[in-house]
């Protein structure tokens, strides 16, 4: 749902005769509405009639739902919420720093529509799609509609959405509109009306799929008994259509082009790409060579044939569209012109989201299709037309004024809300630039029941339905839709951006035993609930390799941070911890060196030194503004994981979500919040977490991080993706080990007293998870040579530096060569660095004297970061486009 994607319609318009205070007639035959405690409607209600009777197509559903027991409903709601959360169903809200990944709101009551009603809608929708496509084909082609005076030229020329750059480009089968959505509303007389058309890059079908997956689990009996039409065949058709568009018939490659993780509906892009088996790409993953589009993969450039576009055309090509777009692909329009790639929807299709030509549709339908328009649109008067503007200005009181063009947005203005002065101001604005305005009839929305505060309550709704073109050039309607409801009964605006809710939409087939249509299919109809179809391609875009690499690094960095923090918190909390006092000093000095705590605390001598230290340690865990805190690392981990989400299993994603939640500070958990200290009135209440809870929390995070690592090792196929993730981990662990060694001054340790030496070595073993190994291997007091051997040189210890180097070497020699010439191959150079480091560690002298140790650690610290840089150069640094 795009930015402009809000629907304003009236929820509280008086019906004929004005608002009725008695919602349902008393003593109705069954008294269903009364029995349900459901009322308040004076518009069309989807569930009950004006007489308070349940509509026939709701009987089965309400029967299977059973008594509306608040506890039961609440359990179901919790279950749904859990499923949605686990599946990571989210949407982003623009212009809200906290708006990333809002949980998706789903109501427990589906919207039900009987099959006969749906059939009528379906035929109207197909006609409308056909009509809009014909209008697009004309406006981007011969423009006879304008030349013959059927549409005024201003309809296209005043609209920034008319993309001149793509005018005249022929598209296969003259189909510009492959994916189309319509927002429908039902008036008090029960008729459906079109509120708006989505022709740019319609969103919502993925959310509808996810809603279905959840509802069929939460209400399995109802779902089964109601004979609900399946959604999967629609998506199969869509996939077939996309494949059929390919200019190359042999193994065509279809990609889904997303603006990226910050887009409002990124979740859906990931979900649909998986479900349809398409490669999810961002603009930077694609490049144009020889007027063809290629996907940049680790193994080179792979031709792309069809692009399912979720990026607005404006941003699609910085060469021919908006030059400031960093989301697009330079040269894309030229490739489309050359006919080597097909973009769906065609670039420019957003033109038909314009409200300016809605009033012309009935005439155009007669002219282009020779039919009457079946599905009426809510009446719109375009101010760019003199007669329409005259009416609009005369009737402003009863109309809502809206932008004519999506590219010139403003908030809808309700004429009736305006003061005399405001009205005059608006009229003047309209006179100045009339073509930018339309006036729309206000429509009283129908209501459907939502489960709210322990009972069913009517809420206004808008139904979004989805169509796709078919391989033979027709259109197919998804039997279902995304129903959106406003949060309050009287609210005028239905919008996910404004915090409304959603519902699953059930089309009741009315068939006992459904036989699939006799159409050939690529695969047997899949249950939408089932796991998404696996991607047909294993191409790893360079961007994704980069993301996985950093995911590995951040995950490992977070683990290292937890180990350090846990070591410090344990000693701080438990004065009985053996050697706690002595070990605190090197530990804090190490943490200060890594930026976790300020340097001032590194000279404390005892445990429990003051509140200041406690606060500093707390900040090093939870403070998101702290540059090196655990929270900061985990936020990065989460962001990075989000950007490569389509490559992570659902379980992996769940773990990442859990880690993100666990690392949130105590202030976000109201339960553990403590009141502000009395006597400090100026201070806001500061959330604090006690030491024991802190340790538990760190343990939880460690367990989750271990689960993440476990998924990585046990569930990822050993492709390039896994390799980059593991390379990231290995490099991070190697660098951390060197930093820790240097942080406790291991090379100069012999200069300290015996207590400090012992304390430092104990900490090294603890951070290196090698205490047990050391004991079993050496059976003596802790000595530096043994510790160094175990943590640096031992290739069999998975925590040792040598182990990381061995693993890295294996990865580097297995990677595809990259795009560089052999004599200057950065991968080979990186492998060379790693080999030298391994050789160094194999030399017993390297870890011998203080001087040798200094030299070894310095050499490693200087050379190993280059491995990361060289890899970035070889695989990730596909320099981003810039304008010249």
């Amino acid at each position: 749902m795009a930015d402009s994607d809000q629907i304003s319609a009236d929820a509280n318009l008086p019906g004929p005769g004005g608002p009725r205070t008695v919602p349902f007639l008393q003593g109705s035959l069954f008294g269903e509405a009364d029995a349900l405690g459901y009322g308040g409607a004076y518009v069309y209600d989807e569930m009950v009639t004006g007489q308070g009777k349940l509509r026939p197509h709701w009987q089965t559903f309400m029967g299977t739902l059973g008594p509306l027991d608040p506890d039961l409903m609440s359990d179901r709601w919790e279950e749904a919420r859990r499923l949605l959360h686990q599946n990571g169903v989210t949407y982003n809200i623009y212009a809200d720093p906290m708006g990333m990944e809002r949980p998706w709101p789903l109501d427990m009551m589906p919207l039900l529509l009987p099959s006969h009603e749906w059939k009528a809608l379906e035929s109207g929708l197909i006609q409308r799609a056909t009509l809009l496509n014909a209008v697009l084909a004309d406006l981007y082609g011969r423009q006879t509609l304008i030349r013959e005076g059927r549409l005024p030229p201003a309809v296209i020329h005043a609209d920034p959405g008319f993309r001149r750059a793509v005018h005249g480009i022929r598209v296969p089968g003259d189909i510009h509109l492959h994916s189309y959505a319509v927002d429908l509303a039902r008036s008090p007389d029960g008729r459906w009306w079109v509120l708006s058309d989505r022709t740019q890059a319609p969103s919502g079908s993925g959310y509808a799929l996810e809603n279905r997956a959840v509802m069929s689990k939460v209400l399995p009996d109802s779902f089964r008994h109601c004979q609900v039409e399946r959604l999967a065949p629609f998506f199969e058709t869509f996939k077939e259509t996309l494949l059929s568009l390919s200019p190359r018939k042999d193994r065509p490659r279809v990609v889904l082009l997303t603006p990226g993780p910050y887009n409002e509906t990124y979740f859906e892009h990931v979900y649909l790409a998986r479900y349809l088996g398409l490669t999810l790409v961002e603009g930077a993953d694609l490049t144009v060579r020889d007027r063809q589009v290629y996907l940049k993969t680790l193994s080179g450039l792979e031709q792309v044939d069809v692009i399912l576009r979720r990026l607005d055309a404006d941003f699609a090509d910085p060469l021919e569209m908006r030059a400031d777009s960093s989301l697009g692909v330079a040269g894309l329009v030229e490739a489309v012109r050359a006919g080597s790639v097909v973009v769906a929807n065609a670039l420019g299709s957003g033109l038909l989201e314009s409200m300016a030509l809605k009033s012309a549709l009935p005439t155009l339908c007669r002219h282009l299709l020779g039919e009457e328009l079946k599905l009426p649109g809510v009446a719109v008067w375009w101010c760019g037309n003199d007669a329409e503007r005259a009416y609009a200005l005369d009737s402003l009181e009863s109309l809502v004024v809206k932008p004519a063009f999506p590219a010139r947005p403003f908030e809808p203005i309700f004429g009736s809300d305006l003061s005399k002065a405001e009205r005059a101001e608006l009229v003047e604005k309209i006179r100045q630039r009339p073509w930018n305005y339309v006036a729309q009839e206000r429509l009283a929305l129908s209501t459907a029941p939502v489960w709210h505060e322990g009972k069913l309550q009517p809420r206004p709704l808008v139904l979004r339905v989805f169509l796709c073109s078919t391989p033979d050039g027709g259109y197919s309607v998804m039997p279902g839709g995304l129903t959106r409801v406003s949060t309050e009964s009287g609210k005028l605006v239905v919008s996910m951006q404004r915090g409304g809710g959603s519902k699953d939409t059930w089309i009741l087939s009315g068939r006992r035993h459904e036989t699939p249509p006799a159409r050939t299919r690529l695969s047997p109809p899949a249950d939408p609930v089932a796991e998404p179809i696996k991607p047909v391609t294993t191409d790893l875009p360079s961007r994704v390799a980069d993301g996985l690499f950093w995911l590995g690094r951040y995950a490992e960095r977070a683990e290292s941070a937890v180990r350090l923090l846990r070591a410090a918190h344990t000693r701080l909390t438990d004065a009985n911890f053996p050697g706690a006092g002595a070990q605190m000093r090197p530990l804090l000095s190490l943490m200060a060196g890594l930026g976790l705590v300020p340097k001032d605390f590194s000279d404390v001598t005892e445990t429990g030194t003051g509140r200041g230290l406690q606060n500093a340690l707390n900040a090093s865990v939870f403070d998101a503004d702290h540059p090196y805190s655990l929270r900061t690392q985990i936020v990065r981990l989460h962001r990075t994981a989000y950007s490569v989400r389509d490559r992570l299993s659902l379980d992996t994603w769940r773990v990442v979500s859990a880690i993100e939640r666990q690392s949130q500070g105590p202030s976000s958990h109201t339960g553990s919040q403590t009141a502000g200290t009395p006597g400090q009135p100026g201070q806001p209440p500061r959330a604090r977490i006690d030491a024991a809870s802190m340790l538990l929390r760190l343990d939880d995070i460690m367990i989750s991080l271990a689960a993440l690592s476990g998924h990585q090792q046990e569930s990822m196929t050993r492709g390039s993706g896994w390799r980059f993730l593991d390379i990231g981990r290995r490099i991070e662990r190697a660098l951390h080990m060197i930093a820790v060694m240097r942080g406790v001054n291991v090379a100069d340790l012999t200069r300290y007293d015996a207590n400090t030496q012992e304390a430092s070595l104990a900490i090294l073993l603890e951070l290196g998870e090698s205490v047990m190994t050391y004991r079993s291997r050496y059976l003596t007091t802790v000595r530096r040579d043994g510790v160094l051997q175990l943590l640096l040189a031992d290739e069999s210890n998975p925590r040792a530096l040598a182990f990381q180097l061995a693993a890295l070497h294996g990865h580097l020699t297995a990677l595809p060569g990259g795009s560089m010439p052999r004599n200057d191959d950065p991968t080979a150079s990186a492998a060379g660095i790693v080999r030298t480091a391994r050789d160094l560690l194999r030399d017993p002298a390297a870890l011998g004297s203080n001087a040798a140790l200094h030299s070894t650690l310095d050499t490693l610290a200087a050379s190993l970061p280059d491995v990361s840089n060289l890899l970035a150069h070889a695989y990730f640094s596909h320099a981003f486009a810039r304008s010249a």
Binding site: A154, L319, W435, A879, R882
Partner: protein, 315 residues
């Protein structure tokens, strides 16, 4: 220059003096480091129209291996797509054309219709071909959005009933008087609102100010890019390469008169000193070289334009 959008094949006005030029326009990019891939769009080919004949036109691109595809844009200009697909540290395009510019018949600006009548006549232009083409120049475009500023500035020139050409010529006279020519004041990215505020700029800015003022009055106005022959100072040879890309505005004066090209930078209607390359709604539609580079750290741009008058064409 009064230019009618007559078919290109129409004969030059009888008895008119004709100027011939050879135009050479070189654009050179030097990159800080190798650029692996670059895409460019060029509007560099002189556009034929009834008062301008293009006798020859040629484009030389270096590296020579660059891929080239020729198109015509929505406004009827030649548009050339160029892709350089191998690492390169410089990119150079030289557009050379030989054009003839004919003298326009003299018309009396006071004989053109009142500007309000021209504005009203647009309503009738729903019909045949050219209607939509003309109307499109009346609306906001990427770089020229009508604002109260522009409307207020335009108003004194557009007194009620004033002939459209006369009012427009008055407008460019005022722009020429009120705005200082100052190449340091603006870049191609400077918004019109800033130009209006600081009253300084270059020919592109002045052209867009005039276009914005005309559109504020409801009149179609287009942006014309091209070259201006720079006359040498008396007794001195003309300097090669001293000339630059030029731009001016064109206003729709109604069906009887057509488009009137006006140069606010020099405060005069265009004449045989002006060579037309392309027109569109504003600079963004017709910028001579537009490009997107992959990689490459920084670039230096040098542009030279050489407008060399040839001997008078034989009549």
């Amino acid at each position: 220059m009064l230019s009618h959008d007559l078919p290109e094949t129409s004969a030059p006005p009888a008895g008119a003096a004709t100027m011939r030029y050879r135009v050479r326009h070189t654009t050179r990019y030097e990159y800080g480091e190798d650029v692996p891939v670059a895409h460019h769009l060029l509007h560099l080919t002189a556009r034929p129209h009834p008062l301008q004949r293009v006798r020859r036109s040629q484009l030389t691109i270096t590296p020579a291996t660059a891929l080239r595809a020729d198109h015509t844009d929505y406004f009827g200009n030649a548009l050339i797509y160029v892709a350089v697909q191998e690492p390169h540290s410089s990119f150079e395009i030289t557009a050379e054309s030989e054009v003839e510019v004919f003298a326009a018949p003299r018309r009396d600006p006071s004989a053109t219709p009142p500007w309000e009548a021209v504005r009203e006549s647009l309503r009738g232009l729903t019909g045949p071909d050219d209607g939509a083409d003309i109307v499109q120049y009346a609306f906001d475009s990427a770089l020229v959005t009508v604002s109260p500023d522009l409307a207020d500035y335009a108003r004194p020139s557009f007194t009620p009933g004033r002939p459209v050409a006369e009012a427009s010529i008055d407008l460019i006279r005022r722009v020429h008087r009120d705005f200082a020519f100052d190449p340091s004041a603006t870049t191609v990215a400077t918004p019109l609102s800033v130009v209006m505020r600081q009253r300084r700029g270059v020919c592109q800015d002045f052209a867009q100010v005039v276009i914005g003022c005309l559109r504020a009055q409801g009149l179609p106005a287009r942006y014309v890019s091209g070259y201006l022959r720079t006359l040498p100072p008396p007794g001195k040879p003309r300097l090669v390469g001293a000339d630059v890309s030029h731009a001016w505005a064109s206003v729709w004066c109604g069906g009887g008169t057509g488009w009137l090209d006006l140069c606010p930078t020099n405060d005069r209607p265009t004449d045989q000193d002006f060579i037309t390359i392309a027109w569109g709604r504003d600079y963004a539609d017709v910028s001579p070289v537009r490009g997107v580079l992959m990689g490459g750290a920084g670039h230096a741009l040098t542009v030279s334009v050489d407008v060399e008058p040839l001997e008078q064409a034989a009549e």
